[in-house]
Amino acid sequence: MHVSIRLFARLRELAGADEIEQTLPAPATAQDAWDALARERPALAPYARTISCAVNETYARLTTPLKDGDVVAFLPPVSGGCGIRDAGCGIRDEGSGMRD
């Protein structure tokens, strides 16, 4: 099956693309899509345990089965909201920054 993968923020930069067409043997889950992606782009591998995933613009578990044509997004840990990671808005609980 063919799925379209969307990448954001540092994942996008590490992969050098925000959109990647991926072919997977059926049946496949979102986890399978990630595994295929990270095999081809080992720089992404360290994110295996911290990504979130969305299928067709809806948050989904990595165990979600995929269908042909699905859009699968992989999201690094998020940091929306306000200000600055350790001070602005009191964001004391966020992880450290990732240098480009």
Binding site: A73, G80, G83, I84, R99, D100
Partner: protein
């Protein structure tokens, strides 16, 4: 646009739009929270911040936060507006408005919503410093994580 409760936009945010989206004759109390970009971070001078969002999922996530709020506080109206792209020092990255007949609920919902935005909105900060840029990575977004919901409720003082 005037009354859109959930927005992701590259335009400068205006608190009046968020306020207008929740205002009504039944609301005796309106609380508006604005998060702005600061000029320093852990000793580094920040020049500006780029916010990247997965916009359609971000809007859906705001709607989900709205659903969570409605379940617990049925009479409170909520708006969440988040900016994307380059945001200058002092400018707002996020505006959250909550309106209620009761001030306790207006405060609680506004605080709950900003905590949830930080936990689960698919949005990323790219800090531009004098010596380069830094991606800020916070929480792994998991909308179904009850522990995160409990943390947000606790911070909302409920």
């Amino acid at each position: 646009m005037q009354d859109t409760p959930y927005r992701v936009t590259s335009e400068p945010l205006d608190e009046r739009l968020a306020r207008a989206a929740v205002a009504g004759a039944a609301a005796g109390a309106v609380t508006v929270f604005t998060g702005t970009v600061r000029n320093h971070n852990a000793g580094h001078r920040v020049l500006w911040i780029d916010y990247e969002a997965y916009a359609p999922l971000a809007v859906k996530t705001f709607e989900r936060i709205g659903d969570e709020v409605r379940e617990r506080w049925p009479d409170v109206r909520l708006a969440i507006h988040h900016r994307t792209g380059r945001v200058e020092i002092g400018d707002a990255s996020v505006v959250i408005a909550a309106a209620s007949a009761h001030r306790a609920d207006a405060f609680a919902v506004c605080r709950y919503a900003i905590e949830r935005v930080k936990q689960i909105a698919p949005i990323w900060k790219h800090e531009h410093l004098e010596d380069g840029a830094v991606w800020v990575e916070g929480a792994t977004a998991d909308p179904d994580d009850r522990g995160a919901v409990d943390t947000a409720l606790q911070r909302a003082c409920t």
